[in-house]
Structure formats: C-alpha cells, structure tokens
C-alpha cells in the first residue's frame, strides 16, 4: 500500500538547509494500523505531509497504492488528496461556518462526488456516534465530537489511507480513548489503512505496529 525508500526532505529557510527527513524507508500493508511516534522535530509531520501529497519529497521513492508520488505534478497530488488520502488533524480543522453535515459534504464536492453521501456511510456515522449532531456547527460541538466529524469527513470519499496527525492531541483522556477506539474499529471492521502520528505511547499502542522516529530517521 505504502512504500518509502530513502526518503529525504530538505527545507530551505533563508540560507540554512533544514534536513527534516534523512533517508526514511518504510512499508505499510493494506489494512494495517501503523503508529509513528517520536519527539517534536523528529520528522513525523514532514512524513505526514509528504504522504498526504501536501509537499513533495526532495529525493527517494514513494509509492502509494501503486502510484509514484515523486513523479506527480501539483495537480496530480491535489487529485491524490481528493481520492486516495484522508486527513485527520490535531486541531480538527473543520470549517467553522458550515454544519457538521456540510463539512462532510464539502469533502465530497471537492472530490467531484454528489454532495449526498451513500446510505452505507450512515453506518460510519453511527459508529462515530455523531448522527444526531450533524446539523450543528463546530462551535456547538465538543472537541471529541469535532474530531469524530473530522474522521467522518476524512472517510467520506473512501480513501485508501487515513492519515491522522496527533488526532488525540487536543482531547481529554475520555475523548482520546473514544477516538482511538473508533480508529481501531474502522481498521478492524472496514479494513481501513491508518497511519497515525503521535507522541503519546498509549495512543501508539492502538496500532498493529509502531515505528519510532528521531532526527529525520526511523530508529526502530
């Protein structure tokens, strides 16, 4: 599903080159729930951004679902974000002016799908426990509910991979546990491939496998 070989990423900030990734190699199988842990500045978020097609790598090879990301144009990476990858962010990142339902609908609109989701998607909304909260705007939802709406939005276009960047970083323990349970459920019941970045070992333990990053490398 995901194949990375000797991936590097250098950010040029003024006259200084920042080596965010220094040769990362990693394989993630279809249906796997992988946790990536590491301290701040270890390169987790850069890896997340590259896998999500938000930024190109500097060198190396990267294949997602058989597609070579390095050869992709900006437009193709935009297309990847529409159809292949779903994002869940630490800060939820819902559009504040839209209801939960419309936040999900706009992801379908962007992907060129009909705005109304398929009937099967109701199952996911039930699993997430937000069916009754769909007509509320983010400001009327708790952090846990917002994150569950964000998860629903990330799944509505059936992405091959769900990328979650510190999905419990802004949540209390109870809501963190609920969100992690949901991610595990999605993985178990729907076979959703999940790559979760976290600095929390307890959260990381929900994955099938954990890789640890430090200084732009995978160390274990």
């Amino acid at each position: 599903m995901i194949e990375l070989r000797d991936l590097t990423k250098i950010y040029h900030t003024g006259e200084i080159d920042v080596h965010a990734l220094r040769g990362v190699s990693l394989s993630v199988a279809r249906g796997e729930f992988l946790s990536v842990v590491g301290p701040s500045g270890s390169g987790k978020s850069t890896l997340f951004n590259i896998l999500g097609g938000l930024t190109p790598p500097t060198s190396g090879t990267i294949h997602i679902d058989g597609r070579d990301l390095l050869k992709m144009s900006d437009a193709e990476r935009t297309d990847l974000r529409k159809k292949t990858v779903g994002f869940v962010f630490q800060k939820y990142n819902l559009l504040p002016t839209l209801t939960a339902e419309d936040n999900i609908a706009i992801a379908r609109d962007i992907a060129g799908n009909k705005v109304e989701h398929e009937p099967q998607f109701e199952q996911i909304l039930t699993l997430l426990g937000i069916r009754e909260r769909m007509h509320h705007k983010p400001r009327a939802l708790s952090g846990g509910e917002q994150q569950r709406v964000a998860i629903a939005r990330s799944l509505v276009n059936h992405p091959a991979i769900l990328l979650a960047d510190e999905p419990t970083g802004n949540l209390d323990t109870e809501n963190s546990t609920a969100v992690l349970e949901i991610l595990r459920d999605l993985n178990t019941r729907l076979g959703q491939t999940i790559l979760m970045i976290t600095h929390n070992p307890e959260a990381a333990a929900y994955g099938h496998r954990m890789v640890r990053m430090r200084d732009g490398r995978i160390v274990e």
Binding site: N49, G52, L54, T55, A75, T78, D79, L80, R81, K82, K83, F87, F89, N93, L94, L95, P96, T97, L98, D102, A105, I106, A107, R108, D109, I110, A111, V115, R153
Partner: protein, 364 residues
C-alpha cells in the same frame, strides 16, 4: 455546496458583509444618480421645450443647442418669420441669466406665449403686470419654498405673482420688455418659437426659414428634443465618465480590502480545503462567487439608494436639477460593479489559490 459555503461565509461576518454591500451600493448609487441627473436635466429640457407648443425653433447663429442665453438676435426677425407662408404664430423669448450661473428668467410676451403654448395653468396667483414681477413653476416654488408674494433675490428683488404648472419652457417667467431693458438687451431675443398652421407643412416652413436665415440654427421641435440627450453634451459625458471611473476605483478598493482581509482571516480554512483536495481554481471560485454575490447585493442596495437620491434631489436640490430613474442603467451599473469587484478580488483570490497548504494549516 460551494454556494452554501459562500453564503455562510458572508453570514459569518455580517458587519464586513454589510460594509461591503453598502460601499458597492454607494458606488452604484453614484453612477445611477449622475446618469439619472444627466437624463433628468436633458429630458426635462426636452419636455419643457415641447411644452411651448412650437413646431420650429430659430436660434442665433452663434448659439448651440445647450446655450440657453448668450448673444441675442434682433426681435425684428420674429416679424419676418411671421410673414412666412404657413406660419400660424411666432414669438420671441429671451433667456436671461440672473444672479448666478444656473439661474435664468425667460422673458416672454405673455399673450403670444399663451397663444402658442395653450396658456399657463395657474396653481395660485396670477400673471405678472410690471417689472420685477415673476411667474414661477411649481418645481421652482417647491425648491425655493416660494408662494405668491414671495420676494426672490436674483441680482435684484423679484416678486412672485403666480405659481404655474411646470412643463412650459422655463421655471421663471417675466415680461420680456422690462427684462430686455434691465439687462441691456433691448429688442433682443435668443429663441424664436414658431407654430405652423398644419404639421404637414413643417418641412416646407423649415426649408423656407433655412433658406432665408441661412446662418441661423433652425430645428424642428422633434429634431431639437431628440438632440437633447446626455451624449450630446460633451462636458456632461466627460463628467459622467469620470464619476463612473471614480466609482469603479472605489468599488475595486473596497472589495480588494474586504477580500484581502477575508483571505488572511481564512488562511487556515483555505489550508483545510487544499488538504481535502481543493484545486486553486476551486479556492478562487469560492472567492469569485462571494464577490459576485456581494456585488449583486450591493447593486440592489445601490438601486434602492438611488430612489433616495431622487427624493433628496427633488426636495432639497436647486430646481434646475431633475433626476430620473434610468432603469436601463441598472444592469449596466450592476455589470460595472461586478467587474470592478472581480478585479478587486483577483489579487486576494490568487493569493488564496496559491497558498501553501502546510503553511496555511499551521496558521493561527
């Protein structure tokens, strides 16, 4: 879906939306008011000229259509015109500027003018009888709060003897003889109004007059009124173009600032849209739709506000200003407002479209 996002975005910042709508409304009102004034003033002149009942108008050689006063011609020409075949009536009038650029009194031979025009309809009072006595029409009376017996200071004191229905030649009338003498225009007129015995004979009389008075400006009433349009007044057209230009610049700046701040404020949201796979065109499209909606709402507000302008001008502006609601200019003003607003959206729009998703997502 995008429309709902656009609508919700506008609802989310009601004050900014209101300011945008009002600003574009002012832009549209400026255009519609000026166009309305241009048409109002020229159409009003046409109506009042037709109100004389004349079929043909003779003007001095050096005059133009819009020079009301100016150098006169000898009143003897009136008698010469009267002698032409098929001329039923002819009378001379003197438009005399008094006490200011826009104030003028029309000196008339009351009996002749009544015969030509069908006579004044008096709303109050009666005809003038001596020097420094005036008839004013109801528009002038309303604008300057005049009634019978009022004294109007136009260089000298003029006493109002009657208020007449509007629509005949002028706003203020006085006896021509004292007016000519008072302003050193003895035996001078600057309009000769001609009534032909049968409308079918108008071309014949026109040809005869043109032959006899070849240096003079001679128009049929139809021709003269058709020429009384804003496009035939070079100063007015230039002025209108300048005001429209200023309006467009104002609209452009307002929308530019509004959209620029909107893009800054929504940096993170733009990042989210991009993370969801929104293309630059999709992001730009949101802002363009928002701008068009704002411009349309502003244009509707501007059209409504132009009725307010019309009310204010009718009640508080000098009597020579008449504003019409020129409906065919509604889509034109709306189009200009939309184009100006879209130009104002281009830079913020492209800034949003080119926004780096990662930077945008880390924006607080």
């Amino acid at each position: 879906m995008v429309n709902r996002l656009v609508f919700e975005n506008l609802k989310h910042r009601p004050l900014r939306t209101l300011l945008g709508v009002v600003s574009i409304g002012v832009e549209v009102t400026m255009m519609l008011t000026l166009v309305g004034l241009s048409h109002g003033v020229t159409d009003d002149m046409a109506v009042r000229n037709r109100g004389t009942g004349a079929d043909i108008v003779v003007r001095p050689p050096s005059s133009n259509l819009f020079s009301l006063g100016g150098v006169g011609m000898s009143e003897k020409i009136v008698a010469m015109v009267r002698q032409e075949p098929h001329v039923a009536l002819a009378t001379g009038t003197l438009v005399q500027p008094v006490g200011g650029v826009f104030n003028s009194i029309s000196g008339i031979h009351l009996d002749e003018f009544n015969a030509l025009s069908g006579g004044f309809r008096y709303i109050s009072g009666g005809p003038f009888k001596g020097p420094h006595e005036l008839l004013v029409d109801q528009v002038e009376a309303r604008a300057d709060h005049l009634h019978v017996g009022s004294i109007l200071k136009l260089g000298k004191d003029w006493r109002v003897t009657g208020i007449v229905e509007s629509g005949k030649l002028s706003r203020m009338f006085a006896d021509i003889k004292p007016l000519q003498e008072e302003y050193s225009q003895t035996d001078k007129v600057n309009f000769v109004w001609v009534k032909v015995d049968d409308p079918a004979n108008i071309p014949v009389v026109l040809a005869e007059l043109k032959e006899k008075f070849d240096d003079f400006k001679i128009y049929t009433m139809e021709e003269m009124t058709s020429l009384l349009t804003p496009d035939n007044v070079p100063v007015l057209k230039g002025f209108t173009d300048v005001v429209i230009g200023i309006s467009v610049v104002v609209g452009f700046l307002v929308v530019f600032l509004s959209m620029y701040t909107a893009v800054l404020e929504r940096t993170r949201e733009i990042g989210v849209l991009k993370a969801l796979g929104a293309s630059p065109g999709y992001v730009l499209g949101i802002l363009i739709r928002e701008t068009i909606l704002l411009a349309i709402a502003g244009s509707v507000a501007g059209i409504l506000m132009s009725y307010g302008s019309q009310f204010l001008i009718a009640n508080f502006a000098p009597s020579f200003l008449t504003m019409e609601i020129v409906k065919y200019w509604w889509p034109i003003a709306t189009g200009i407002a939309i184009v100006g607003s879209l130009v104002g959206t281009l830079y913020p729009g492209f800034k949003a479209a080119r926004q780096d998703a990662i930077e945008a997502l880390s924006y607080d």
